[in-house]
Symmetry: C2
Subunit: 227 residues, 2 copies
Amino acid sequence: MSKNKLVKSVTIDCVIFGFYERRLQLLLVKHADGIGQGRWGLPGGWILQDEDLDQAAYRILSDLTGIENIYLEQLRAFGGVDRFPVSRVITIAYFALVNPSEYQLIPGFTASEVEWFPVDERPELLYDHQEIVLNALDFLKDKVRREPIGFNLLPEEFTLLDLQHLYEEVLQHELDKSNFRRKIKKMGLLRKSGKKQTDVPHRAANLYAFDETMYRRLVEKGFNFEI
Amino acid sequence: MSKNKLVKSVTIDCVIFGFYERRLQLLLVKHADGIGQGRWGLPGGWILQDEDLDQAAYRILSDLTGIENIYLEQLRAFGGVDRFPVSRVITIAYFALVNPSEYQLIPGFTASEVEWFPVDERPELLYDHQEIVLNALDFLKDKVRREPIGFNLLPEEFTLLDLQHLYEEVLQHELDKSNFRRKIKKMGLLRKSGKKQTDVPHRAANLYAFDETMYRRLVEKGFNFEI
DNA sequence: CTATCTTATGGTCATATTGACCAAAAGTAG
DNA sequence: CTACTTTTGGTCAATATGACCATAAGATAG
């Protein structure tokens, strides 16, 4: 087999979701140069010889957007023959959930702009990034019901209704308020902060925080998160 | 950035599970040449320029083992810097479940032998294939509970106890026979074949088949498989 | 033919979970 | 005070689950 018939390069692309104003948001960058100049796409870049996949993903995300110290998870590889117009490139997609208010966006490297877009108002995307985003959305829908990752999208403290709105937005259907809080509270994963909402024109709700330690303890005992 | 610092090659590795004699089995090949000569590993090979990932996986599996026409699904990419001793290679792992009795194993290409091993008696594996297999086992455990893929491991017709044994082996814990059959039967995914077991030294059980059409119809209506 | 053994098949029952509601309490704004 | 909004918790019937128990259907041994 001649060497020049093999696949030669691999990139990383990151699908980063956020949540505010009750809507799911997607982080995009505008390419500063190259073939996609001036167009929006997922933050991505080449993998170097001496870094493993996770390292590459963290580096690229940080370089392009300024976002650091989050939990990135591999989604899957995309390798359609013509997905990249210049040459054959396979990309490995990564996935993360963040609370946008905790991060300042700093475009850098090959990105001239970085911006959050409501997922359902995203611009047209480069290459096969549309397909990757759709894939990530499916992944998110499944995952958010089986693991307590939704909390990553919210601030440290939130009301039960905030949480419900998040689930309604991700799952794309309404939930019964009473039943939702009964279920969440019975799990025992939330710690009352003692504080209450402020500046609301009605009775203020209690603020809760996700109790990671408790979650780990429950998982040890066989607990299975499910909504 | 100089071109020669980028990742240069990508392979596919297939984790194929089977089931017989109440045990989960793993398909391995013995390398005929190269750096891993004489050692066991997952069926794998290089991805070519003009084939997409799924195509590459089917080609490689067929070339090495003779297995064709099965449902392969991508697991994830593995890209540790030193996972391959000669050069930097990223591999994309694929995953499938088959009924071993339906396939004749034909070693070919870079494989001198192909063989089923009980998963818990597998030999030492090449490179990071041990890690990939462990990953696939976790994936299988999750997936088998949420999608009716277990049937792929069984013959066309099987008894409810066969199915129970399969779940017990994959999930690594005992199930209550009565409750198991109540649950499975209530789902309505099984079609009675009308036939019964033969050559058993006790009352013969009914043989059932998975009803794919019914499954699709139920999914349309919002049905969610779960065990 | 009868007793015995093994597995199939189906039930019981107390407990937990779910979905669809209802109702009171707390606080804001006029 | 009154009207209004949202929080918070409750009811109740229907369903699902886990731990058992009981009987039926063959097969085999004597």
